[in-house]
């Protein structure tokens, strides 16, 4: 079936031993034109090498985000951190959490002993629950840290979505606290809470009720006594666009999500959810001035960094010190402020206190939210 001529020494047929072996191996696939085949195979092989290289590169690149955290000495402070630290962002690239994590990562690295790489890994899904679960169930060695979304994540277990316990997270500290701004379409005759109450068929643009923004909208409408039709969308920018178009009348989101439309005067600011007036919106009253100071603490978007329960005290201290130093670096603060990311540092204890406060104050909304979802 296969006549094999590789021993004859015709001109130009000086195949290497390796090629001969390959030729032999392929003799089952190919017919008696072995030599010709081998010549063409030389080019095919180089192609095959390219393809294999492509697989390798894909594997390496996909591995970039998931640096292995093996052979770490748990419990001993000697030389921690020795290798790459993974910083889990529970959302897809783009947006507040991703951007701030990418700004923060190099500063964390700089202030950690041994200056390890700090790699941002996006694990989106389930309103940031998937990312949180990943950090909670990582190996407790301190090499996996992550962003936790507040108050959104505090709601999950209260309404039976998610079985994690935020008070068990080993907190490293709070990075930012974004104030919400309430705004209305420029043509709608809205200026204060009373006009919202009186507005016929008020439509409020929001996101899903289990997200931080959706939760904020729900709480605000409850506490302010307005009764809008909620028009949810997949993200804050879609809702803010809808408010600019007049498809909805009223929205409230963190300032960075609305800045451009506010600048363009497509929407007009009504009030801000913070204790003091914002320096970039000096003429806009706070919710306290409108008579509801308690909402300033409840309606916000907080990014806090934590790690797996069970990480040793020594490792925790190293991480906490590094975050504190990074949060005090004027260059870091400058970058954060340039994007209006409202950096606000809280240490581990204060972060835990805030988490507990959030859970406590959300308890009373759990039942009404559950019934809203069931509807």
């Amino acid at each position: 079936m296969f006549s094999f001529h590789y021993n004859n020494s015709r001109k130009g047929n000086n195949f290497s031993i390796r090629e001969k072996t390959i030729l032999k191996a392929y003799s089952n696939f190919y017919d008696d034109k072995g030599e010709k085949r081998l010549k063409s195979m030389r080019s095919k092989r180089s192609l095959l090498k390219m393809v294999c290289a492509a697989i390798g590169i894909t594997a390496i690149l996909s591995g970039c985000g998931a640096a292995k955290t093996t052979n770490s000495a748990n419990g001993a402070s000697d030389g921690f951190p020795k290798q790459t630290i993974t910083f889990v962002v529970p959302y897809a690239p783009g947006g507040d959490f991703d951007t701030t994590a990418r700004i923060l990562a190099p500063y964390l690295s700089q202030y950690l002993p041994n200056k390890p790489s700090v790699i941002v890994k996006n694990i989106p899904g389930g309103n940031s629950q998937v990312g949180a679960e990943n950090v909670l169930h990582a190996k407790p060695d301190g090499y996996t840290i992550g962003y936790f979304t507040l108050p959104g994540l505090a709601l999950g277990p209260l309404i039976g979505q998610g079985e994690y316990d935020l008070t068990k997270v080993e907190w490293i500290g709070q990075v930012f606290n974004l104030p919400y701004v309430a705004a209305a379409n420029k043509k709608a005759s809205l200026k204060d809470i009373d006009s919202l109450k009186a507005f016929p068929k008020l439509r409020m643009g929001t996101t899903g009720i289990t997200t931080s923004a959706g939760l904020g909208s729900f709480i605000a409408s409850n506490e302010l006594g307005i009764n809008p039709t909620f028009v949810p969308s997949g993200g804050s920018s879609e809702s803010v666009l809808a408010a600019s178009q007049g498809s909805v009348d009223f929205v409230q989101f963190p300032y960075p999500a609305m800045r451009q439309q506010l600048d363009a005067k497509l929407i007009k600011p009504l009030w801000v959810y913070s204790k003091e007036r914002l320096k970039y919106l000096p003429d806009v009253p706070t919710i306290g001035e409108m008579g509801h100071p308690e909402l300033a603490n409840l309606i916000n978007l907080v990014g806090a960094v934590g790690t797996t329960p069970g990480v040793s005290k020594e490792h925790l201290q190293v991480l906490r010190d590094a975050l504190k130093k990074a949060m005090e670096d004027p260059k870091f603060l400058d970058k954060m402020n340039k994007e209006y990311h409202s950096p606000e540092y809280l240490n581990a204890d204060d972060t835990l206190k805030e988490v507990k406060d959030d859970i406590q104050s959300l308890k009373k909304y759990a039942d009404p939210i559950k019934s809203t979802i069931k509807k």
Partner: protein
Amino acid sequence: MGHLVLPALQEFITWPAPLFLMIGVLVGLLFGILPGLGGPQVLALLTPLTFKMDPSSAIVMLIGAMSAIPLAGSLAAILLNLPGHAPSVASTFDGYPLTLKGKGGYAVGASASSALFSAIFGAVVLTLILPFGEKVVLAFSYPEFFMMALAGLSMIVVISKGKSVLKGLIAAVIGLMISFFGFDPITGVTRFTFGSLYLYNGIEIVPALIGLFAVSEGIEMMHQKGSIAGQSPLAAKLTGVGDGVKSVFKNFGVFIRSSAIGTFMGMIPGVGGAITTIVAYGQAVQTSKHPERFGKGEIAGVIAPEAANNSKDASGFVPSLIFGIPSHVEMAVLLGSLTILGIQPGPKLIETDPGKILMIIYALVAGNLITAIIALFIGGYLTKLALISKQILAPVILAISIIGAYALKGEMGDVYVALAFGILGYMFDRFGFPKINIVIPLMVGKLMETSFHQTLLSMGWTGFFTRPISLIILVVVIAVIFFTLRNNKAVKTEREKVGDLSESTKVDGPSAV
């Protein structure tokens, strides 16, 4: 902005900006050709590098990487049936059949030149429309989104011309059902999640596409002999890249219409690139004199999605630059990077920093130019992949597919989805169900459902009919469906008169009544 055209150009060609453009393009090509990795990943990885660069070089590098992604994705789609990103799925419909015929070079040539010219088209429109972009973006709201999704869905009718209606409908309904997996975006109720946190967000589109096209093809190859191009007479000389470039000019009408569709739909945030390429493809089928050739290796079926894909990326800058609203995920990451560089996208950018806008447009055009040249240059070699024995290629394709599905988010769930859809796609091929019909609803289903609810909540059902743009799209969709069905019937009766009772007609018979 006019007086800045030359100074900005001078800045653009000043060393080291061209070097960074080149780096961006090469990294983009690498990421684009590998499934699962794409624009968002490449931009996220490049962003930290830009912190210490001067803004011009940084912009040029980021935009260069972005502009290389679509064509690179199409190369894998055409040559290996491996759509690494949702918008490149339409390139597999006719691109891969051409590769099967040994005409891979022809397809690559058409794809590269179509991509380049449409990017230029898009960039020119972008420059002209930026001052008026605000009005365009504000005019499209929930009802219009719904109608666009409907237009995407109606393409099923157009593309299935003359094929089994029953099988087509079954496939479409399966696709629509799968698109409803996960939590309801309006009420928050979860559907078909079976208690799995992975399914909470629904089926991820990219692994599903990788499965449907690449994995199923890999399985199919396992029990075949020979190479992809097989015994085709053209297999011996797999070039034809030049003919491919010429074909764009021969099909200039399709090219211009597709670029216009891409430019228009790209401007509207929230519509998504995948629908855009599908609509452009449907348009090519609809306007062709030989619709029956599509899906079997018609060059217009390669030109159309490619043109739409690249022009939409150019016009996607309209909402991003004017409103800071990202038109897709890639743009969201880019906006983040731009703000870190001190460029604030928004209504004031045209007044405060028009030079930077020009910079972006130049980089977009130059990036596409370099990408197209590289693609044309290596295209001829890459088509030789079609000469490798299927026995060798199949495991390679399967491995790349699975790693690609994993690379997307580093999530095992995505790998399972790719495998499950691989088996589904294989079954579809075996039993003659059209895979396109499952893909389209999968991509538009969620948008359709969400925008339908949003319209009802914010405007009531009259919102669909009282807004002029929404109404116009609806009328066009109905007209397209009507004429396609009427044509179908005419073709069928003609065939019956001649007595040509081919197998497909027999299958069609009962359901078409």
